[in-house]
Each structure stands twice: as C-alpha cells, then as structure tokens.
C-alpha cells in the first residue's frame, strides 16, 4: 500500500473541506444539498448491497447479524466503563456518548468502500447488512445505561418503559435506517435489466457524489475543532482511542469469527470503529436530555469521524492484510 493509495479523491475532498474551515473560508454548502447527497448515497449503498445480497447465500448472512448485535451491545458497555472509570465523566454524559460508539457511521463505511475500490480490493456482501442493523441496538443500550446512571444518581425512574418503547419505534422508523433497508429490499427485488436502468444514477456517479458529501463533512468536522477545549483533553483522546478499541474487536470478529476476505474484514472493522452522527444524537437528546449534546457531537463529528477517514481506514486495511498474512 503506497502513499498514492491514500490519495483517494473522496478523502482529499474531506481534507479540502476541513482546510476551508480552518482558514475560515466562507465556503458553505447549502444544508439541503447535504441532505440530498446523504439520501442519494444511502439509497445507492442500499441498492448495491441488496443486489449483492440477492446473489449471496442468506444463511451465511446470519453470523454478520450476530456480529452486528454483538458490537451494538458490547461496544457501548466498554465505552461506558472507560468513560466512568478512567475519565470520571458524569454518568449521564457517559451513557449518551457510549451509545454513539455502538452504532455506525454510514459516511465512514462509504469512504472505506471508496478506499477499497480505489485500490481494487473486493469484499463480501454482508457488511452492508451490519451497517443497516447496527444503528438501532446501540440506542437501546444507551437508554439502559442512562437508566442505570439515573439509579446511581438516585434520580426518579420517570417512565423508562414508555421511553424504551418510544425509542424502539423511532429506531425502526428512523428515516435513514428505513431508506437503507428499503433500498436493500428494492435492490434485491428488481430484475437485472431493471437494475441496469437505474445503475448509471445510483452506481456510476456514486463515487463522485461521495466527494461532495465528504467535502461537506470536512467542513462540519472543522467547525467542531473549536469545541475541543470545552470538551476537554480526556474526551478528545477518547474519541481517538475508542475507535481503535472498536477496531480491535472488529478485526478479531471479522477475521476469526466471520472469516471474511481482507476487504470484508476492513469493512467490519470500520463498522466497529465508527460512531454514529445520524440516528443516535437525536435519540440521545430525547432519552438523556441531561447530557450535553456538544460532547457527543464533537466527539463523533470532530474526532472519531476525521480520525477514521484519514488515519483509521488505511490502518484497519493494513491490519486486515497483516491478519490475513498477506
């Protein structure tokens, strides 16, 4: 893996966005443009994944589901323990932050796909299922951790049951998740010639559109840099160490349990290492209103996302290669 493999256009556009923010450029993408691009990318990744899955053996997908649930439940608990024991972060903020790390970032996943595509590495069809599944369980665990935290703090257990049901429904009717699942179903259902009709829009121009998304994410990440001071050194460090911990479990599960190829292991690792900024923040705002949103958003958008995009993905790929003995 040479340095030139890092010069994936999508990642360079991320750097350009961040640079624009750091030099205080007035560059700004319209917010609706970002939403449009995200909708487009989610449908594209869903269709592609669904198409790939339709030709795969669905029984083989089951381990991926278990792995996804395992990450979604296990990683937030690990994150919570670290935040509480080492960082002495107050329980409710710890709960809210932890939930984000059990979930995933579709943007990081797509960047990894672009990275693998750029160096011509293939991968299994199953990680996209994990992407779709992992957003939800972490939200539930976040709520459980928050309930536990409130018990420690001696606070009232006000309607946790109702909230759990409410969040369960929200998690499954969340727009992004629904779009991803729906597109996967459509990608799997349509005939080959039908798929070819929509392929130019959803596949051929996908990688270019991803550049727009990442340029904008670079600006969002750049904006959050100024909040590093308010968030504190420990949390910023956590935003870099936690993805590495997730990546460790991702590598182990991907290689030994799922036994995927180097590309597949890289994607599983990226899923474990990444951290939500779509479905989890609004859910935590609702479920844990006592937590400071600036903490989890800064960690997710300002630390973990840039770290994964710039450093993480090539690192995880190199590690997957090492494990595979290549």
């Amino acid at each position: 893996m040479s340095i030139s493999s890092l010069l994936v256009p999508a990642i360079l556009f991320f750097a350009l966005g961040m640079f624009a923010c750091i030099v205080k450029s007035d560059l700004k993408f319209p917010p609706d443009m970002h939403k449009m691009v995200v909708i487009y990318l989610l449908i594209g990744i869903g269709l592609h994944g669904g198409k790939a899955l339709s030709t795969s053996n669905m029984a083989d997908a089951l381990p991926a589901v278990w792995a996804a649930l395992g990450f979604g439940i296990g990683l937030p608990i690990i994150a919570y323990i670290i935040l509480r024991a080492i960082g002495r972060i107050d329980p409710l903020n710890a709960a809210a932050i932890s939930a984000h790390y059990g979930s995933v970032s579709a943007g990081t996943y797509m960047t990894a796909v672009a990275f693998l595509g750029g160096i011509g590495v293939t991968y299994e069809a199953y990680p996209v299922i994990m992407l779709a599944i992992m957003e939800s369980p972490a939200i539930m665990i976040g709520l459980v951790l928050a309930g536990y935290s409130r018990k420690i703090l001696g606070g009232a257990q006000k309607g946790e049951k109702g909230m759990m049901k409410h969040l369960m429904i929200e998690a499954f009717t969340n727009g992004s998740i629904l779009l991803l699942f729906g597109s996967m179903a459509i990608g799997a259902a349509v005939s080959e010639p039908s798929y070819h009709k929509i392929e130019p829009f959803f596949e051929t121009i996908f990688m270019g559109a991803l550049c727009l998304f990442l340029a904008d994410m670079g600006m969002e990440a750049g904006k959050r840099l100024s909040e590093f001071k308010a968030v504190g050194l420990f949390l910023v460090g956590f935003g870099i160490v936690m993805p590495l911990i997730g990546a460790f479990f991702g590598l182990v599960v991907g290689h030994y349990y799922l036994q995927y190829s180097v590309g597949g292991v890289t994607l599983v690792t990226v899923l474990a290492a990444s951290c939500s900024y779509i479905a989890v923040p609004p859910a935590m705002r609702l479920a844990v209103p006592e937590a400071n949103p600036s903490f989890y958003l800064t960690l997710s958008l300002g630390c973990t996302f840039p770290f994964n995009v710039v450093v993480g993905i090539p690192l995880y790929y190199a590690a997957a290669q090492y494990l595979a003995g290549q």
Binding site: I278, P281, S300
Partner: protein, 107 residues
C-alpha cells in the same frame, strides 16, 4: 387615530417545537381562532438548552406563532394552552396591539 381605523386587540406570540406546530394550530382552530401567522425554522434558547435549526447531527427547530384576537378570546385561549405548554415546549407572550381595519376581518 380614530376608532373606525383601529381596533384594540391582544397580540399573542407563541414559540414551540416545530414538530408540535400542527397540534397547536389544530388546537387554535378548534378554539375558534380566525387568524394566525406562523414562521418555521426558528432557533432559540430556553429551559431545555439551545435549539439550533442548522446544526449538523442535531437539528432542532422552533416555530413562532403570532396571533391577533379579542381580549376575551385571548383569555380563553391562554386557559386552553397553559396545560399543554409543557408538551409543546416553549413560551407564550401577550401584549396590546391595534388592528388596522381592512377589507377582511380575521381576528
């Protein structure tokens, strides 16, 4: 100005979560209100902290509702609204104003 040009009314200004706007407007209509104006996509600070309409990752929007009505109607409205304010989030202000009589009556 003479009273055939201006009518004294109450001006009610409500700020609530944008998602609750539909419910609030329904409530106003069932309460017999004949006119209101609303502005979406507002932001603010309140007891629940900041709400920013353009924040990436956590978009929280308020709606501002402005309403001119007769004093009696205003009193009735406030009594209807008060118990629901918590559910809607936000605040409700009242002040005096004068309605410039025009071709249409919608207060």
């Amino acid at each position: 100005m003479s009273s055939d040009v201006l009518i004294p009314l109450k001006r009610i200004e409500i700020v609530i979560d944008e998602e609750a706007l539909g419910k609030l407007l329904g409530l106003l209509r069932t309460a017999g209100v004949r006119g209101y104006t609303f502005i979406n996509h507002a932001g603010g600070l309140g007891s629940r902290g900041e709400r920013r309409p353009d924040d990436y990752g956590l978009e929280e929007k308020n709606a501002v509702v402005i309403l001119a009505c007769e004093e009696k109607q205003a009193e009735r409205l406030i009594m209807t609204l008060r118990p629901r304010l918590k559910e809607f989030g936000g605040m409700c202000l009242i002040s005096d104003c004068q309605w410039v009589i025009g071709p249409a009556v919608s207060y």
